[in-house]
């Protein structure tokens, strides 16, 4: 019996090893930003990691950013879904994993980006929406090599969508910015100025609308808002990598 089995076993082992070698392994220790291609500097990596880790800790949704300079001969979509499956991105049963995969321009090859949604996120981030995020938020920044800016915007949008802060229809209709947020901003401004006035400080109305609008228009840029965070290097703990989630081919891609 051993004689019969061992060639089979050996073959199986060999095949699985050969397969496993082709796809990259997650970085160790496990993290959400796996910048194999080195597109981000260490501070940018830390900021994104912090943002994504925070989100993961509160919602269990795993948003991975992966950059590679070589797709090992796979098509981008195929590569992304295989990696997602292999790393088990998302929680088992919930399948709430999302991958932003980037293959930068190398030589004459075009740069490519893909957003892949796990089964559980297909409803909140449908393909058309993923496409829109790529075309509107990632590609324009990536063209200028501003990888951090694009990723920061896209992750904010994805998080807001995934936690139901606004729906896909809002996003598609309002051209990217939900009216409700603008409204909230003015409500906040009103209350704030009210408080200042009550305190007797004459600042009340002196926040000029122009400046307020200026602040507002900057919001998109620095929407990460973690600018005070810079010293967290290596202090992340308690993340144990993919949770066994699964992907069914949802998402979209684009190139530049």
């Amino acid at each position: 019996m051993k004689k019969f089995l061992s060639p089979l076993l050996f073959l199986g082992l060999f095949l699985s090893l050969a397969k496993a070698q082709e796809l990259p392994d997650p970085m160790y220790p496990p993290r959400l930003v796996n910048d194999f291609a080195g597109l981000l500097n260490s501070e940018e990596v830390n900021r994104l990691e912090y943002k994504l880790r925070n989100y993961h800790d509160t919602t269990s949704t795993q948003i991975y950013i992966i950059t590679v300079s070589d797709l090992m001969g796979y098509d981008l979509a195929d590569f992304t879904f295989r990696v997602g499956e292999k790393w088990g991105i998302g929680q088992k049963g919930k399948d709430n994993g999302l991958i932003i995969m980037i293959k930068p321009k190398v030589g004459n090859e075009r740069g490519e980006a893909m957003i892949a949604t796990g089964y559980g996120l297909e409803d909140v981030i449908p393909d058309a929406l993923a496409k829109r995020i790529i075309e509107k938020e990632l590609i324009p920044e990536f063209k200028e090599e501003n990888f951090y800016a694009g990723l920061d915007k896209a992750t904010t949008t994805v998080m807001d969508l995934a936690s139901g802060k606004f729906t896909g229809d809002d996003y598609l209709d309002e051209g990217g910015f939900p009216i409700s947020l603008i409204f909230l901003f003015f409500v906040f401004l009103y209350i704030y100025s009210g408080i200042r006035r009550q305190k007797g400080k004459s600042l009340g109305h002196s926040v000029p609308l122009g400046a307020a609008m200026g602040m507002f228009s900057n919001m998109g840029r620095s929407s990460g808002g973690y600018s005070s965070f810079s010293s967290g290097r290596g202090s992340f703990g308690g993340f144990s990598g993919g949770g066994g989630g699964s992907f069914g081919g949802g998402g979209a891609r684009g190139s530049w």
Binding site: G12, A77, D127, A128
Partner: protein, 196 residues
């Protein structure tokens, strides 16, 4: 009952205590895995079928759009809807037929998408862009579910065909199941992804 049957029956009875360790239950669960994965495969193909009428309606509105490519898509779809496979009967011939009719839909669709290249207005149409993204996503889903199906079939097949199960798997009706073959359409699944 002749002698051969009797012997088989005896052997079977003797094997009963070993079934839990000899993999009967595992064969069942692997087969179930294949069956349920087949349902996923059919779902994603159905998803593509459901998109086609939308696509056709969007495109049809455009003045003098080439009727021929549209008709081909509609015909291929009609043909493909008539072919379904009973998941308990995943034989090579069945799967091949399924793959062939769906392959025709794929190529009709990619011809349609290629034709659309010549209609800049249509390409800029918001409705169409969304349909295009959905179609791309659907092609990706098809590729993924097919791959998973093949992996499940491979697990099942290699399990029932390895020793000692190869001897008795057939007695319980565990037959080898067919794979999807990599056809041209599958290898270049996101064909509709044009110059963006």
């Amino acid at each position: 009952m002749n002698r051969k049957n009797l012997l088989q029956l005896l052997a079977l009875i003797m094997l009963i205590p070993f079934f839990s360790s000899c993999g009967y239950n595992r064969m069942v669960s692997l087969e179930e895995g294949v069956t349920s994965q087949w349902a996923n495969v059919e779902n994603v193909y159905q998803r593509r079928m459901d998109l086609i009428p939308n696509l056709v309606n969007t495109v049809k509105g455009y003045a003098n759009f080439e009727q021929q490519t549209l008709t081909q898509v509609i015909e291929a779809r009609a043909k493909a809807t008539s072919v379904t496979i009973d998941p308990t009967n995943l034989t090579e011939a069945n799967l091949k037929q399924f793959q062939q009719v769906q392959g025709e839909v794929s190529s009709a669709l990619s011809r349609l998408m290629m034709t659309i290249e010549r209609y800049p207005d249509l390409k800029a149409n918001q409705n169409f862009l969304e349909l295009q993204a959905q179609l791309e996503g659907t092609e990706n889903r098809i590729a993924v579910e097919r791959r998973k199906f093949n992996e499940d079939v491979q697990k099942y097949n290699s399990y029932i065909r390895s020793f000692p199960r190869v001897i008795y798997a057939g007695w319980f009706g565990f037959e080898k199941k067919a794979y999807f073959e990599a056809d041209q359409a599958a290898k270049e699944a996101p064909k509709v992804d044009f110059g963006n």
